[in-house]
């Protein structure tokens, strides 16, 4: 019965995504290839003194990305630090420096790790002018970088990969903003509040009184999901009834998380005029997502003890209105994208489910990954697969008419190292320093056992991969964790972006060969299998030994 429900929920989301896959993907391809500037865009370019028709080299592009993000981070940091003097601050004090740094890093890095309790820390101005804005532009940054990499494949030896400022403007104005407006209206219809009324105190039926927080929830909720950000308006995130009021809206939010990352694969196929590779990548993403979903549902239904058996599964930490299925489909989507929104307590999952959640993140966020980041990460892995398949066939490794040479492979080899290095080094450093270790075990972890270890591992993996979800129960608001996780988030985001742009530049400076695929069967099932196998092979073994002392020790 539960499995039938799981299937129904899956089909609902799948059909919705399938329906929007082509139109949205093709639309995005048009947005990024159109030569025409909208009037408002021209105004922006003129005001910002941007030469919109000048394509940038990868270094210039990267420079723009970094400059833009650094400026965004500074603004966000200052907004938090100056909160007390801002309007609509709800009387909240300035945010502590370490927490402000962590939050700024995490929102600029599209991670939206939240070490804080939003309703008690951030006023409306910071939420709207700071966090919501970064939710938009950080997602747009990811999309821009992905498109720049795609342009690397289509360029004919010119070495230029587009203009970041144009990509950024268009991604926001033509894609994220219109989608957000539509989605916000749907959320409003579903009962998500949007006001500036602050807290409302009401008398409950039982005679007590209750404080109901208000605020511009719907607008921020929209971009939190669409931009695979995950930074909720409330601490409970999407488990909060004001963020995610009903079962159908829960499925709609799942759809919102997945829609842009999936559609960008179509955009890729469209831009390179070759849908075979895109289709293989799509199948790979779907397969990994389905495996994660099925194992999450399976472990939650199977592993619960007597109490869970009576209530048809382990329901602790899950919202009644979603149930196990609604929670798991959301979790699969949020760990597969860099979403990081949560509608249930991952900390209360059965240990093996939380391991699945960790492994799903560890895969590198390619199922389907964050807005843009999913596409570029998977493309890097595809480059490696092309190289190995080329070796296996004795053919030169060619991807879309570009040769995979030493430089490209070196970059790809570095990209796959970034996440494990950051996560494992971060964990090791935290445990190596005795006072920090004591603080983490005694304060941060909910329990000093395998469960606490799982929370700890989850936090670092989530930060390194820019996911942002966390196992509730892990208190991360300590100076050490704020700063270390903030640094990990920034490196995890921008090191990869720098490498991806370097790869884009390297491909862009190659002439495009007529031999598009070098006779490699990129559209064949064997290629998909090889891709999936490699995604798993690269990611999982590195974390397996650590996981044995966390979820595996707890769950077996």
């Amino acid at each position: 019965m539960q499995w039938l429900a799981a299937l129904t929920a899956l089909l609902t989301v799948a059909v919705a995504i399938a329906l929007s896959y082509r139109p949205l993907g093709d639309y995005m391809a048009w947005v990024f290839t159109s030569r025409h500037h909208l009037g408002v865009e021209r105004l922006i370019y003129r005001l910002c003194r941007i030469n919109a028709n000048q394509s940038q080299s990868w270094k210039a592009y990267l420079g723009s990305v970094l400059a833009f993000s650094a400026a965004g981070m500074l603004v966000l940091y200052l907004l938090q630090r100056l909160q007390a003097w801002l309007p609509y601050s709800l009387g909240l004090p300035p945010v502590a420096p370490d927490l402000a740094f962590n939050t700024a890093a995490s929102f600029v890095g599209n991670t939206n790790w939240q070490s804080y309790v939003p309703e008690h820390t951030m006023g409306y101005t910071v939420q709207m002018a700071g966090l919501a804005v970064q939710s938009f532009v950080s997602a747009a940054t990811g999309l821009a970088v992905a498109i720049a990499l795609v342009r690397g494949f289509t360029a004919r030896g010119t070495g230029v990969i587009g203009n970041f400022w144009v990509d950024m403007t268009r991604a926001n104005l033509r894609i994220l903003l219109p989608l957000s407006i539509i989605a916000t209206i749907i959320l409003l219809l579903g009962g998500v509040p949007q006001n500036f009324s602050g807290d409302t105190v009401i008398d409950t039926l039982a005679g007590g009184s209750q404080t109901l927080p208000g605020g511009p929830v719907a607008s921020q909720e929209t971009i939190k999901m669409l931009g695979t950000n995950g930074g909720g308006f409330f601490n409970a995130n999407s488990a909060h009834p004001f963020e995610n009021p009903s079962a159908w809206l829960n499925l709609f939010q799942t759809y919102m998380l997945l829609v842009v990352p999936f559609a960008s694969i179509r955009t890729f196929g469209r831009m390179v005029h070759d849908h075979r590779l895109a289709r293989s990548m799509l199948i790979c993403m779907v397969a990994l997502l389905l495996i994660a979903y099925a194992s999450l549902v399976g472990f939650e239904l199977a592993n619960g003890g007597a109490a869970a058996a009576d209530s048809h599964g382990a329901l602790e930490g899950k919202e009644w209105r979603f149930g196990i299925i609604g929670s798991m489909i959301f979790t699969a989507a949020t760990t597969g994208t860099t979403g990081g929104a949560t509608n249930s307590m991952i900390g209360s999952f059965t240990p093996l489910s939380s391991m699945v959640a960790i492994l799903h993140m560890v895969l590198g966020e390619v199922s389907p990954g964050g807005v843009g980041s999913g596409l570029y990460t998977l493309l890097v892995l595809v480059v490696i697969v092309i190289f190995i398949a080329g070796l296996l066939l004795g053919r030169s490794p060619v991807i879309l008419g570009k040769r995979v040479g030493v430089r490209e492979m070196k970059i790809a080899a570095l990209v796959i190292l970034v996440m494990p290095v950051l996560a494992l080094a971060g964990m090791a450093a935290s445990m190596a320093i005795p006072p920090i270790r004591a603080e983490i075990i005694d304060y941060s972890m909910s329990q000093a056992n395998a469960q606490g270890m799982t929370e700890f591992i989850y936090a670092f993996v989530s930060a390194a991969i820019n996911n942002g979800s966390a196992m509730a129960g892990f208190s991360a608001n300590t100076p050490w964790l704020n700063i270390v996780l903030g640094i990990i988030i920034l490196l995890g985001r921008f090191l990869v972006i720098a490498l991806v742009l370097a790869m884009a530049g390297s491909f862009a400076s190659q002439p495009r060969s007529v031999d598009r695929d070098g006779h490699l069967p990129v559209g064949r099932p064997t290629f998909v299998i090889l891709l999936i196998a490699l995604v798993v092979f690269i990611a999982v073994p590195t974390f397996f030994p650590v996981l044995t002392v966390g979820p595996l020790a707890g769950g077996l």
């Binding site: 296996l392 995979v404 492979m409 494992l424 069967p521 092979f537 595996l552 077996l556």
Partner: protein
């Protein structure tokens, strides 16, 4: 006809329908003579001297005849080498003796020797650290525990031994491959006839500049060093590059530069440099050696085949980057693991961490990567191909277009007369008699083929060279040969344009009808791929006459159509590029089953054709043997020179085909691809192996503390120490299994990529998982009998 006539050839077909009376501008913009066209190279204008080279046993055998007719092949093709060529010997003592092998492998087991192979370097450090731990443990009386498990006594020492064995097996693989290569090249080196030199013991330029009264040493040229002085007398070969300090003389430099005419070398600044391998024809000189002999292109290639001067090729570098990345991630795991699990206070012992790294990093593929490279060179050497770099061999595997220089490559290169075609009013006997007269002094292959054809048709040869006869030898400049008889009769045979020019020059008045008929005949001959020779005479009395046409035809080599078929199977486009006219080119291309052809090509046209293919994204291989091919060979991604080519050409090429068979390029491409496929198979096998190794190692790490982890022990290995030891031993065993595979290369079929990928994944992917599962389990079944395991 499988050819798509390229636009370039088309253009020439339309502008030049006849076999050329006029000068035509070729599409490349260079003025070329249309029709049968001499490739005006210095080498070709010298009919009698074979372009010989000390390393070529075949060169002397080549009847390097230059044509008496119009088209001269740049260099003569050589017949197949005799069967006792060293590179074609049967396997016998190709494996070096075992003690020598083991010693050579041991010498490689130092961090310095392994420095350029980061994966093996890591293995060294893993083994070294484990050894230190094994030594320290008894001294400090530490009881070895790991992850909550009490390890058996001597576990660390056992680990150390086996980790060293892993490394040792890896280095043995490389030594084995190098040894094989060396045993082949030793013979090749011996074959290089070494030049003897008269080295002056004490040269005193002030007292005895001519070195007439000095003691000399008769030394091997290879022992000369810069600064030595040698005496060279007429008829001797220059033993080394150097400067003349006294004397001078005529030097035949054709072997090195292809320039046929002897050049004067003396002490003047401009002329004093002499090149090793050239021959002094006259006089005597004293030469100061300026360069250590023995660093020719061939020497370089031999060194490479031995594996001594290996440089990493790009794809090897790329693979190494990937392998290093995998390796680093496991180093990271082992470095951080104990820190991360610190709250449990059950650190994994250092030997086990080292074992974790050594068994999980791609040691096998890293060790065997150089083996595959050396093995591929060795296989090429056995087929008579020397390669100058791993890069060239790798690129060969990527080649998608092959350009052949026609003459001597596709065809035998020597034209034979096929028929006698008298013009109207001329009898066949008349024509034959005149042709015989004109060819009598022509000892070239083509000249003799006319005599042979005449004899076959029952005409007697007129070898009565009377005293007053004046013989005109063929030269590339005049493009005709003939004789003036004492009675005033003058006979010529040669290219149509040359004959007409000769007639015109000597004031002959040819009837337009005869001219038209001649043009009709020559065009017909050319259309069928032949080269028309025209015979004409000024009789002793009477007006000049055009007698007839002799079609000369170049014969496609027997093996060529089959080899082209193989190239098509490999998905490779074949292009023939030749100085011949497009019609000849077309006929030969269709006979040889070549996709495209470009006629009337001068050296620049060859380069242009290569550049055009490269810009379309193809990797281009070019085979050639003429001096004029050097720029094209250098431009091509893979330049393949024949051994008969001059050193300058061989220098420009990446490969040298020792027995001068250009179709060996098929073998080169196949071996290049197989080398890649072998590496792909190895890395797939290695990664698939790793999956089972995880399941053997990871549960064992903390099984002592969390016994429930043994539920992941899907192989049901006996115990924690046994699981770890079995996995390490398996690494050694699997290396042993893979060495023959790396040496021989994986079977490389001509199946479609789709099926090949499927099959390879099944064999090496699934196979890798199964072999590892069975292997580790079997070893475990043995190891479990050791007390304590």
């Amino acid at each position: 006809m499988t050819s798509n006539i390229p636009a370039k050839a088309n253009a020439q077909l339309s502008t030049n329908p006849q076999s050329g009376l006029k000068q035509t501008t070729a599409a490349t913009g260079t003025v070329t003579t249309a029709g049968p066209k001499p490739v005006s190279t210095p080498a070709s204008s010298q009919p009698s001297t074979a372009v010989s080279d000390p390393t070529s046993p075949a060169a002397t055998a080549s009847a390097s005849s230059q044509p008496s007719t119009t088209t001269a092949p740049p260099a003569a093709p050589a017949p197949r080498p005799p069967a006792d060529n060293p590179w074609e010997r049967e396997e016998g003592h190709v494996f070096p003796p075992l003690p020598k092998l083991l010693r050579a492998a041991l010498a490689k087991c130092t961090p310095a020797a392994l420095w350029d192979n980061p994966v093996l370097e890591l293995t060294w450090w893993g083994a070294a650290i484990t050894t230190l731990v094994a030594i320290a443990e008894p001294i400090f009386g530490v009881q070895a525990r790991s992850g909550g498990t009490l390890l058996p006594a001597g576990f660390s020492a056992t680990m150390a031994v086996f980790l060293w064995l892993v490394l040792y097996t890896a280095t043995i693989a490389e030594s084995l491959a190098e040894g094989r290569g060396r045993s082949q090249t030793e013979a090749l080196r011996a074959l290089r006839t070494s030049t003897r030199a008269s080295r002056i013991r004490h040269y005193d330029p002030r007292r005895d500049q001519a070195a007439r009264h000095v003691a000399t040493l008769n030394v091997d040229a290879l022992d000369l060093r810069p600064g030595h002085f040698v005496i060279v007398t007429a008829g001797q070969t220059l033993p080394a590059d150097g400067d003349i300090v006294w004397g001078g003389g005529m030097v035949d430099e054709s072997a090195q530069t292809g320039e046929s005419a002897p050049v004067l070398r003396n002490t003047s600044r401009a002329n004093r440099q002499v090149i090793s391998g050239t021959r002094l024809l006259s006089d005597r000189m004293v030469v100061k050696v300026t360069k250590t002999p023995g660093h020719t292109a061939t020497d370089r290639m031999i060194a490479l085949a031995e594996g001594t001067h290996r440089q990493r090729a790009p794809k090897e570098m790329a693979l190494l980057a990937l392998l290093s990345s995998f390796s680093l991630s496991f180093v990271l795991v082992s470095l951080t693991l104990n820190l991360v699990v610190a709250p449990w206070d059950m650190p994994v012992s250092i030997p086990i961490l080292a074992a974790l790294v050594v068994t999980l990093i791609p040691t096998e593929i890293a060790a065997l990567m150089s083996v595959t490279g050396i093995a591929a060179m060795y296989q090429l050497l056995r087929r008579g191909v020397l390669v100058d770099s791993g890069h060239a061999l790798e690129t060969a595997g990527d080649v998608s277009t092959v350009l052949f220089d026609k003459t001597g490559t596709i065809t035998e290169g020597d034209r034979c007369a096929t028929r006698f075609l008298p013009l109207s009013g001329v009898s066949e006997a008349e024509l034959v008699a005149a042709a015989l007269l004109a060819s009598a002094g022509d000892q070239s292959y083509e000249g003799r083929s006319i005599t042979a054809l005449a004899a076959k048709r029952g005409f007697a040869d007129c070898d009565d060279l009377s005293e007053g006869d004046k013989i005109f030898d063929f030269s590339a400049k005049t493009r005709l040969s003939g004789r003036d008889c004492p009675d005033g009769r003058r006979v010529r045979k040669g290219a149509e344009s040359a004959i007409l020019k000769w007639l015109d020059h000597d004031g002959a008045d040819i009837a337009p009808a005869a001219l038209a008929e001649l043009q009709g005949e020559t065009t017909r001959v050319a259309n069928r791929g032949g080269t028309p020779l025209v015979v004409a005479e000024f009789p002793a009395a009477g007006p000049a006459r055009l007698l007839g046409v002799i079609p000369m035809r170049d014969v496609v080599k027997d093996a060529v159509p089959f080899r082209m078929e193989q190239l098509h199977h490999l998905g490779i486009k074949t292009v023939m590029i030749t100085g011949d006219n497009p019609l000849t080119a077309k006929a030969i291309a269709s006979e040889a089953d070549i996709d495209e052809y470009i006629g009337d090509a001068d050296p620049q046209a060859k380069v242009d054709a290569i550049v055009a293919e490269q810009q379309a994204g193809h990797f281009v291989a070019m085979s050639g043997d003429g001096v004029n091919d050097a720029p094209a060979l250098a431009q091509a991604d893979v330049g393949v020179a024949m051994n008969s080519a001059s050193p300058a050409v061989r220098q420009a090429a990446n490969m040298v085909i020792l027995d001068n068979d250009p179709t060996k390029i098929v073998d080169v491409i196949e071996i290049g691809r197989r080398q890649q496929a072998t590496r792909g198979a190895l890395i797939t096998f290695n990664m698939a192996n790793d999956i089972m190794r995880y399941f053997a190692l990871f549960p064992a790490l903390f099984a002592g503390e969390f016994p429930q982890l043994m539920r992941l022990n899907i192989l049901h290995l006996h115990s924690v120490p046994s699981a770890i030891l079995s996995t390490v031993i398996f690494s050694i065993v699997v290396m042993g299994i893979l060495i023959p595979l790396a040496l021989a290369g994986v079977p490389y079929g001509l199946t479609s990529p789709k099926r090949a990928l499927c099959r390879n994944l099944l064999y090496y992917g699934l196979g890798g998982v199964l072999v590892a599962a069975a292997g580790i389990k079997l070893i475990d079944l043995l190891v479990m009998w050791i007390p304590g395991y």
